[in-house]
Amino acid sequence: MPFGLNRWSARQSFRMQHSLARWCGRFLAGFSLLGMAASAHAQERPLALLGARLIPIHGDPIEQGILLVQGGKIKAIGASNNVVIPPEAERRDLTGKTLMPGLVDTHSHIGLATSGSNERSGPLNPEMRALDAVDIRDPALQRARAGGITTVNIMPGSGSLIGGQTIYLKLRQGRTIDDLLLRTPTGRIAGGLKMANGTNPQGDPPFPGTRAKAAALVREKFVAAQVYREKLAKAGSDADKAPARDLALESLVEVLAADRVVHHHTHRHDDIMTVLRLQKEFGFRVVLHHVSEGYKVAQEIAAANVPCSVIVVDSPGGKLEARDMDWKTAGVLERAGVLVGFHTDDPVTDSRLFLRSAALAVRSGMTRDGSLRAVTSAGARMLDLNDQVGTLEAGKDADFLVLSGDPLSVYTHVEETWIEGVRVFDRSDPKDALLATGGRGAGNPRAASLCCFGNGGDQ
């Protein structure tokens, strides 16, 4: 199977069987409330977008096609003679524009500027949650919308071996982080676990000084999680026999149950192989991130059926382990049959320029179609959100972009970003244009808004 689809979906059903009842119960109430809030904003009247070139990702582009949206979902997509537009629908002519799915950024740090993303008190922090750190009012989120990003995995940094729990957000216009959350089928707040190896998590004790020590510390922690999981299983429903709650190990038990995906920062070929070794030993699901030397071990990555989220930056270096970084990585991995995505690592690269990653990969040998999948459907699969986002298909969330031209051209602008049928970015609005290009007020994560007392809304 190309892209390792087979194993990835098999794991997904495995995860479903091992649903954690207590997470389920705790969050289901919140889930349904959120669903109501989201649909209240989405249009009940159908919206028909006509005349644009549609890039659905899962199929060939459609010239002058129709995208029909209602209730936050895609109702239909197709050639102009294949979609029936309900008479009550609002019609919008987008002739000359290009529509594609909203982008999925599998690795970002937006919203963490004022909270910090690296906990340097210790190297193993699986209990930490990005949920508790993201400032959703940071203009970095609106800049990401300006770049066409609709779904994002916000992660702790790579300064520790286990950086903490990541959070998958829909970049809806919300007032609090709760408005942006996604849920897993079991009701848990969607997110993975950030891990890192190589030089970033190294340091003075308690941090590892060497690569072998780093791996040993991680293995010890996972072994502890295995023991904890056994105790939980033995206790069953008997609360008296259950071990004391351990927030760190609880998180790792989710990883062991393949319910929480590991997002692993790794650059060098030998570090990549270490991740694959740990993955094999503990059986977790993992996405490799950055993968700077991935082209050196592409066969091994393909054989392990592990997806890669690649970073594309303008030059190699900046640190020893990125010296052999090469634009060809994504193309080489693609040809080896690996599921390839990209990420911004914002602020390392700018969320507004995420499509550049795809274009530079094409410059160095990736297929055009593969590069567009890499910023949409491939990322969605890495976050287990492919039933919901990543392509323009009937039944999926109405997350899409209106582009002024070809997605890989430098001259193309994201003109509009839509999430679940709601326009969250509009370049023709001066306030949004400011965030898209920059200027006074666009870059301060905590800009004061003192003018003027009492005349604003509640936003």
Binding site: D314, S315, G318, V348, R356, R363, V410
Partner: protein, 408 residues
């Protein structure tokens, strides 16, 4: 005692490195040739001899003489000039041993020369040359009030002495939060103190300059490399490259320039749109921050549209790759111009911002920046619109030497 054979071996190795590669006779033919001296030539040919451009003309009327190596490409431009970089001094690996762009022992060190730091073999020199850059203005980085000097160098040959265009180009100065001392209780801790230190030092230099002018040799002061350097700045022989981002700091630099009659190149200038009139009236050129500079700290107001604003205001400006502390270790000026072209500059204006404009600002427009007879044969070849990410640089010619062929 070192055996003579080893001396010989070393000499041979040095010879290989220092000998210029044969500057063959080369013809470059492009479907479109952007000369930057006039409108683009459709089907143009550039003939090169002895490292210089012989003729630039139409392919229909120019005969390529026998014995010339012929290169062809869809698009031909002048070799790119990176107006401000730290490549070769802030090395690729970002380890202590390859980071020579900032000496933190003192806030004002105009005597530090870039020629004593530049590593022509750093891989990032190859990297940018393979993407069309033929001239680099590089040197000491931002982070101190005066961190040292800069130089202008070709990206080939690899021997610095042969590649050097301007050994003492500017003084790299920074005014802003970045230029304040990180060390506790060490000045300057505030911007006002920073300006105070600069003024005090320039006053000393004025005094030194006066003493140097004394007719009585006995009364002239002893050589002082530090003050000698500042005297060059006072005399306008070597401009001050002021990296300054915030509007209030830009105005402070202009005030300082007026007080001492300094020749300034404004660098970075993220807040330029807020003080556009003052910049234009100063007459100083601008080396603008990278178009993709991150909007944070003193660059919080940075905009991709500022280049277009400078253009409309009639201010001479160039684009730069700038200094990068982490990943990527350098930006590529080609891509910075590309994004400016997508945000308000025309193609020609964006190309000028990485060719003829920086050449003018750096005082090397008689040598590089356009394709014209008599100029250095510095040429970049592309297989499509140079600004499109999916195009490739398919060849770079530096001083008549074909350095890179093949898609990059």
């Amino acid at each position: 005692m070192i055996p003579i054979s080893r001396w010989l071996a070393a000499g041979v190795a040095w010879g290989v490195l220092s000998l210029p590669m044969a500057t063959a006779q080369v013809a470059v033919r492009g479907q479109t040739v952007h000369t930057l001296t006039g409108p683009p030539i459709v089907d143009g040919i550039v003939l090169i001899k002895g490292g210089q451009i012989e003729t630039v003309g139409s392919g229909a009327t120019t005969t390529v003489p026998a014995g010339y190596k012929l290169l062809t490409a869809r698009v031909v431009t002048p070799g790119l000039v990176d107006a401000h970089s730290t490549v070769g001094i802030s090395g690729m690996l970002n380890q202590k041993q390859d980071q020579d762009q900032l000496d933190k022992s003192a806030p004002l060190q105009p005597e530090l020369r870039a020629v004593d730091s530049y590593n022509s073999l750093d891989p990032l020199v190859d990297w940018v040359r393979n993407l069309g850059v033929t001239t680099l203005h590089t040197g000491h980085g931002p982070g101190a009030l005066i961190s040292g000097q800069t130089l202008v160098v070709k990206t080939w040959p690899q021997n610095l002495d042969q590649a050097l265009l301007v050994p003492e180009a500017t003084f790299a100065c920074t005014l802003g939060p970045d230029s304040l001392s990180a060390a506790k209780d060490k000045a300057p801790a505030t911007i006002a103190k920073a300006i105070g230190l600069l003024r005090a030092e320039l006053v000393k230099a004025v005094d030194y300059q006066k003493k140097l002018a004394k007719s009585d040799l006995e009364k002239r002061p002893a050589r002082d490399l530090h003050l000698e350097a500042l005297v060059r700045a006072l005399e306008g022989k070597q401009p001050l490259l002021f990296t300054v981002q915030r509007h209030q700091d830009i105005l402070s630099v202009l005030r300082l320039a007026r007080e001492f009659g300094l020749k300034i190149i404004l660098d970075g200038v993220a807040d330029a749109p807020l003080v556009l009139r003052e910049i234009r009236e100063s007459g100083f050129p601008v080396i603008l921050h990278p178009t993709m500079a991150r909007p944070s700290a003193d660059l919080e107001n940075v905009s991709m549209g500022t280049a277009a604003q400078l253009q409309s205001a009639g201010i001479l400006f160039a684009l730069q790759s700038g200094y990068e502390a982490y990943v990527p270790k350098t930006r590529v000026v080609l891509f910075e111009a590309a994004l400016a072209a997508a945000n308000g500059l025309t193609f020609d204006q964006a190309l000028a911002a990485i060719t003829i404009n920086p050449a003018r600002i750096l005082g090397i427009a008689d040598r590089v920046g356009t394709l014209a007879p008599g100029k250095d044969a510095d040429i970049a070849l592309f297989d499509g619109d140079p600004f499109e990410y999916t195009s490739h640089c398919v060849g770079t010619v530096v001083s008549g030497v074909v350095v890179g062929e093949g898609a990059k």
